[in-house]
Symmetry: C2
Subunit: 348 residues, 2 copies
């Protein structure tokens, strides 16, 4: 009843060669006469042949299957990352196995290992926060499963990582705000256990200091919407509230925006709002928020590229820093005359 699958034998028969030759063509191996190669290719398309991934995995040293694992709560981030990785896979006939660690709790490590062993993936792309999961990384090391880390909290490890220049980006954004005349700039710091949080915070402080400004308006957040909202309420409630708030990630920025609406604050008239857009989510905020855009898509694409090259045995750079981009939107504007004259939001 079921149609028999088109196999390498069918192709070989039609092309009048042995299966080994077909295999060579399939894997772009040298040592096949051009004419033969063409004939085989023709037979493949004519028969609509698609080599069996399982068969290749089983027989070969490589499976051409890569794994992408994530445990991020942000749909947009996951979406972007997934597509970046998929796009790179498509470029070289690789396949991507997407694996979510959501709600896996302390089973993350065994589950990932089980997945990797069962599926025979050639390697893994780890996205944050998994890219900074020491336990997981140790386990992968132990089984010598190749992997590339995306935006990991920096801890030394020989595996390649793809990241953005958090320090330069923070500096750029801070300068943007200072350039608009802001002097009283607040920073909502990211989750204290994330390394990038610390890098951003430090860069913010350094930049402010460089311009002779005080960086005392810092609130601790936890990369969540509520924590951003809480921090904002605290900041607004101060005797001398800020004229600008820079949130260390986009979920916290969502929290800022929430409070902005709650208190009906004029943005950017009285308060400028800026953030990093880790999640690619900021486009749906109102007003549109000025961001440092870091493309999850690009990062994942780059990481997947590295992984593929690693698996091929190439040597790849330990750190790949991707460009970021300051996207100015309507949430940031010049500090108002009202503010400049020394009066404050809280006094309004």
């Amino acid at each position: 009843m079921t149609m028999a699958r088109t196999t390498i034998d069918d192709v070989a028969a039609r092309a009048g060669v042995s299966i080994k030759t077909v295999s060579r063509v399939l894997n772009d191996e040298p040592g096949v006469r051009l004419e033969t190669r063409d004939r085989v290719r023709l037979a493949m398309t004519a028969l609509n042949y698609h080599p069996s991934l399982p068969a290749r995995s089983l027989a070969g040293r490589r499976s051409n299957l890569l794994g992408l694992i994530y445990d991020d709560p942000s749909p947009t981030y996951v979406f972007n990352v997934q597509h970046g990785a998929m796009a790179r896979c498509r470029e070289s006939k690789h396949r991507l196995f997407v694996f979510s660690c959501k709600d896996l709790g302390d089973q993350v490590v065994p589950e990932v290992l089980a997945m990797a062993e069962q599926t025979h993936v050639d390697g893994l792309v780890l996205t944050p926060p998994l890219s900074a999961n020491r336990e997981l990384i140790a386990a992968l090391d132990q089984r010598s499963i190749p992997f590339v880390r995306v935006a990991p909290d920096a801890f030394d490890h020989p595996s390649p990582r793809v990241d953005m220049d958090d320090s330069a980006a923070t500096r750029e954004m801070t300068q943007h705000l200072i350039g608009l005349g802001h002097r009283s700039i607040a920073f909502i710091a990211g989750h204290p256990e994330h390394h990038s949080s610390q890098v951003r915070l430090q860069a913010f402080r350094d930049c402010m200091a460089e311009y002779g400004l005080s960086a005392h308006l810092v609130e601790q957040g936890f990369n969540t919407v509520p924590s951003g909202a809480v921090a904002t309420r605290r900041l607004i409630g101060r005797a001398e509230p800020p004229t600008a708030i820079l949130a260390s990630n986009s979920d916290m920025a969502a929290g800022v925006i929430l409070v902005v609406h709650e208190l009906d604050l004029d943005v950017p008239g009285r308060l400028s709002v800026a953030s990093f857009d880790d999640a690619g989510i900021s486009s749906i905020f109102w007003p549109p928020v000025t961001i440092i855009e870091q493309s999850g898509y690009n990062m994942a694409h780059a990481a997947t590229d590295l992984l593929i090259r690693m698996v091929r045995g190439e040597t790849v750079p330990g750190t790949t820093l991707l460009d970021h981009r300051l996207v100015v939107r309507r949430s940031t504007g010049p500090v108002s005359a009202f503010e400049r004259d020394g009066r404050r939001l809280g006094a309004a």
Copy 2:
């Protein structure tokens, strides 16, 4: 150098049985003495054995691999659906291969077929709009690849589908608005080529008629944020603008909210806003929007469950209707005295 994979032979040796017996235990086949079964299980855990998916795919009639394909632009929807399907897979040791058709253009059908053949998936879960792709469905039929459709635009096909009762849901929401005193209710219709759009529109009209109300305030949208915004501007610009707007999907609702902020409209004082939350996205709107919640997670879970049962050879229902839920939030409220007295938004 590379550690040899733990195989069925290792387990068999350790348990003192043949590999066939291990295989039987693995597949929950009958005809193994309880004591033997336990011994094998013990050996499996002791050796941390994970059967090779490729090997099983190659040898067996089934791969225990299911495919989820999507081409939806909404990250949240994809995220939810993905997790629903993954969760169901986890329940029965299945694996999910996620495949995006984004940007594939007219290559969708060949790419999906290639994927299915290469990966040896046992079947596919089709999410909208692919669940209504006639070409694709015909191709899958032809290769007799089992599939389940999620929320397809209704067209007759023997394959199982999982859906919600759009008609009842629309009715419920319309009644909610009418109950709040609204008489002038606008409807932003969804993409004309989506069947559910038509069902919702029809249900809206029927419900309005039933209460003796006119359903002339209908704008055509296209399930996108901009189209929702455009439609809203048109509605607000009318001589007699509505006191409530019901958007046929959540992206268009985002467009409504955008315009609400743009024009600084009082919600729900002057305008109530409601929508369907196909994308599970409405929680981040401000103000929070009253929605009909249809869970992509549940739909995918149910669809995957059906698929698994199909593959097992069980007979499954042709249509599975899932519950929906009216979630009332602050974007809808009683029509104001101002409005009730016959004056209108546009005259304000």
